[in-house]
């Protein structure tokens, strides 16, 4: 068999989160991801995935970008820079958003938190954090708002899974019961000043805890200790990817990129064309909103023998239909699942397609997303 390629020569050394030494002690396998040295797995992706579905998992997300926008014009500035309308957020709430190019292509997908009337936090993907920071700085110049890029000053740990509230509650002064999905509140966790958000990327209940960079290892240790009794596992990017795929959530670089607009990705609801004022991408997105789609993002369940992977062609009755954006063996469902862009007309659930896996066509059926919904 072939070895997994190591870092390509000539690339700059990846950045390290405050937890790299901790990951090494835990036996993690570290890889370069989005310019960062990150754990891809500890004990194994399947064990970690199941821990999150059944109990809880702890993730180091300190590589994510944290961009604070503050000032009397902060809401207007973000409304002009992003496709959503953060002015509509109540204080303490968050929403999913995107930052687009003038042609409507997606630069990144984001979570925007309203921390105070005039203070917002924009969380960007690690690989795009620099670009988003630069674009935001440019786009808010005309507004009474300032950008404070605290990506390298902010650590982030996520506790995800059905037991996550039970793990976090004894460690924090935040009352978690009234904290709704996509809500956030400032408080203390393990004695560390923190922003506690009920958000995640796994399809489970869970929390993301933002702290000062220098105290991230302290936070991690307290959460690990708190999770011990319920069998929480440290989880890497491998499980994060299988969990989000089962939950039908897009990943930037797979489902989303600059050549893709929100309507292609089925995320048109995120674009607030009815909001007041101009925003970057508005005229292109107004056209795209009513234009016939050129492709559709769908879920696929592989019914034949083979695993669909990123980049594999999708065909229907021998003619090209599209391409797989993400695919894996679903640990929860026990069968291969995928997301793919397919030709308009091929997106109806139940449609029989095929994925070209090496030299074979493997049957697949269009399946509504998400593949997995947590029991409530």
């Amino acid at each position: 068999m072939t070895d997994t390629p190591a870092l390509a020569e000539g690339e700059p050394a990846p950045r390290e989160t405050p937890l790299v030494a901790t990951h090494r002690v835990l036996g993690a396998r570290l890889i370069e991801f989005g310019g960062w040295l990150m754990p891809v797995q500890y004990r194994g992706i399947l064990d970690e995935h199941r821990a999150v579905r059944e109990r809880a998992g702890l993730f180091d997300l300190s590589h994510m970008g944290e961009l604070f926008v503050e000032g009397p014009g902060a809401g207007d500035a973000l409304a002009a820079a992003l496709v959503s309308d953060p002015r509509r957020l109540e204080v303490g709430r968050a929403h999913y958003s995107m930052i687009c190019q003038p042609d409507g292509g997606i630069v990144d997908d984001l979570i925007v938190y309203r921390l105070a009337a005039e203070r917002f936090l924009v969380v960007a993907n690690a690989s795009n954090a620099g670009v988003v920071s630069d674009l935001l700085a440019e786009r808010i110049v005309a507004f009474r708002a300032v950008l404070d890029d605290r990506s390298l000053a902010t650590g982030l740990c996520a506790v995800q899974g059905p037991r996550s509230a039970a793990i976090l509650a004894p460690l924090t002064d935040v009352d978690l019961a009234p904290l709704r999905n996509y809500a956030a509140v400032e408080g203390q966790v393990a004695g560390i000043p923190a922003l506690v958000a009920r958000t995640g990327y796994t399809g489970e209940d869970g929390f993301e805890v933002f702290v000062e960079w220098a105290r991230t290892a302290e936070l991690w240790a307290a959460l690990m200790e708190g999770g011990r009794a319920v069998g929480m596992e440290p989880c890497g990017l491998g499980a994060r990817d299988t969990l989000r795929l089962e939950a039908g959530m897009p990943l930037y670089g797979n489902e989303l990129d600059r050549a893709t607009n929100p309507y292609d990705a089925g995320l048109g609801r995120v674009v607030k064309l009815d909001k007041e004022g101009d925003f970057v991408g508005r005229s292109a997105l107004e056209r795209l909103a009513v234009a016939p789609p050129t492709r559709r993002l769908v879920g696929l369940t592989i019914t034949g023998r083979g695993i669909a992977r990123h980049g594999y062609p999708v065909v229907r009755d021998g003619r090209a239909s599209g391409v797989v954006t993400s695919g894996t063996q679903s640990p929860t469902l026990g069968r291969p699942i995928a997301m793919a862009y397919v030709a308009p007309g091929d997106e109806e659930p139940g449609t029989i397609l095929a994925v070209q896996v090496r030299d074979q066509h493997v049957d697949a059926v269009v399946t509504p997303l998400p593949f997995y919904r947590r029991p409530r």
């Binding site: 068999m1 072939t2 070895d3 997994t4 396998r29 891809v40 797995q41 194994g44 992706i45 399947l46 491998g238 990817d241 299988t242 023998r305 083979g306 695993i307 992977r309 894996t328 063996q329 640990p331 291969p336 090496r358």
Partner: protein
């Protein structure tokens, strides 16, 4: 520690020779590197393998890796258990995780592969 009675390749396949029949699999090192194996694709019985040619694919949750034939010959048996239980490759790579049996074109071929000590120096190198 790798089994002393097997022969190995730098690509982390192992060979157990019994006369003109060779059993082939991947090493514990390879299985650990891959992580949880979730799919194994093997050739049909009767297929002819060229030494160093690809004979199949092993997939973990995240990665797809080609399998390279350590020896030349005709496939006489494949491990059908791996269809339903690919995790056998992780659990018992030198036993129940075997992949195929080959009738050797040249029964002298396995002896020319790495012995256990030489293979261990590859994985520790």
């Amino acid at each position: 520690m790798v089994p002393a009675d097997l022969r190995y390749t730098k690509e982390h396949e192992w060979v157990r020779q019994d006369g003109d029949i060779a059993t082939v699999g991947i090493t514990q090192f390879a299985a650990d590197e891959l992580g949880d194996v979730v799919f194994v694709e093997l050739p049909a019985v009767g297929a002819t393998l060229q030494q160093h040619g690809t004979f199949g694919v092993v997939e973990s949750v995240k990665a797809v890796s080609d399998l390279f034939a350590p020896v030349a010959g005709e496939v006489v048996e494949i491990n059908g258990d791996l269809v339903a239980a690919p995790e056998l490759v992780n659990m018992d790579p030198y036993g129940r995780g075997w992949m195929l049996r080959v009738r050797l074109s040249d029964p002298g071929q396995p002896a020319a592969l790495l012995d256990a000590a030489a293979y261990e120096s590859v994985t520790h190198g």
